[in-house]
Symmetry: C2
Subunit: 212 residues, 2 copies
């Protein structure tokens, strides 16, 4: 048995970014505090679920007061590690890689793009969002001289395993994989496999169940 | 009170595409049946959770046998409505729109791309993946003459609300929104707001908790 009982469940972790985003929206609207009921209603999670979730981190509410929005936003940002100047690279500079390189929300959340790599000689040396595309052959050398926390993989499916192994072999601890394969590493490498077609399938289900 | 008690919970719906993908992988490996324990272990969901999930749809297992992979794959595909020849359009033909238009997994899941729209005169008339980019001004006309089930929105944030209203006003029942705003419609329009930065935040959390 490993120490899983102490770990925060995956579903709770997955809700943290949603809480964070939503609190950010409240802050923009200059809302200073919110009851757990109001937070619950807006986020489609029960109030007791929210309290349970927050209890994994010591709880943030105050009986009868609700939540202080700015404080909670800061705390969840800390828990998510958004104030640590995390850096990332993008491997694969096709349309999706380009879209992600231009995706300003990553920067807004505290992630800094420090490199883009591809193996297409025709685009190596050109720039996206001010960053030059480097030869993918030089990834190891780059990682030797630059701290990189996360790599976003937008390479073809058949190249993803090898690329992931090269990156993690050089110390990259987090992979965001868009290649429609299920990457799975040991505990010490975190992986998020992004399946864009899941959202389409969910929509398909909902459309049909709305009809009934 | 609406009839929510009878509805399948959102978390269950969200797991269906994962079950479907995983069963598809098993089929490729020519695996004919799987115990709920083996399914559970691979998918990181408890066996009792899997049984509960499937019970929303009548249950598919057989005591002592486990699940027939091909049958279950077909059933979940049916539940998700993947055999209904759903059609979709993409509104916004920037890098992300292009990447999605070339995304062969959508087609593999049974979704058919029938139109791409943009308002940039320089690209209207050019083709992506064999489909001509049309003038976004003509969306209403297109929807009058073509059945479109789902629209993928990759327009700038400030245009998303108006675009969504035009589409749903013409009968589109499902929206996949990449514009980093929370679209929210009445029951009869299904929305999936895709937040790519959520995966980065989750990774950030996991990297730090792996360190401890």
């Amino acid at each position: 048995m490993n120490d899983k009982s102490k770990k925060v469940p995956e579903v709770v972790i997955k809700r943290l970014p949603r809480y964070y985003r939503y609190l950010g929206e409240l802050l923009k609207q200059d809302i200073k505090r919110i009851s757990s009921n109001a937070l619950s209603e807006k986020m489609n999670v029960t109030a007791s679920q929210i309290r349970q979730d927050f209890n994994y981190f010591g709880g943030f509410g105050q009986q009868g007061y609700g939540y202080n929005v700015e404080h909670l936003y800061g705390e969840i940002g800390d828990i998510l590690g958004l104030h640590d100047d995390d850096t990332f690279i993008i491997v694969g500079a096709g349309n999706l890689g380009r879209a992600l390189a231009n995706h300003d929300t990553f920067e807004k959340r505290g992630f800094r793009l420090v490199g883009i790599f591809d193996n297409d000689k025709n685009i190596i040396g050109t720039k996206i969002n001010g960053i030059e595309i480097s030869d993918a052959d030089n990834i190891e050398d780059f990682l030797k001289h630059n701290r990189v926390d996360i790599a976003i993989l937008t390479v073809p499916r058949e190249a993803v395993m090898e690329t992931a192994e090269r990156l993690t072999g050089c110390g990259v601890k987090g992979l965001m994989n868009f290649s429609y394969t299920e990457l799975d590493f040991d505990r010490d490498v975190a992986v998020e496999n992004v399946h864009l077609s899941d959202s389409l399938m969910t929509l398909s289900y909902k459309i049909k169940s709305n009809k009934n």
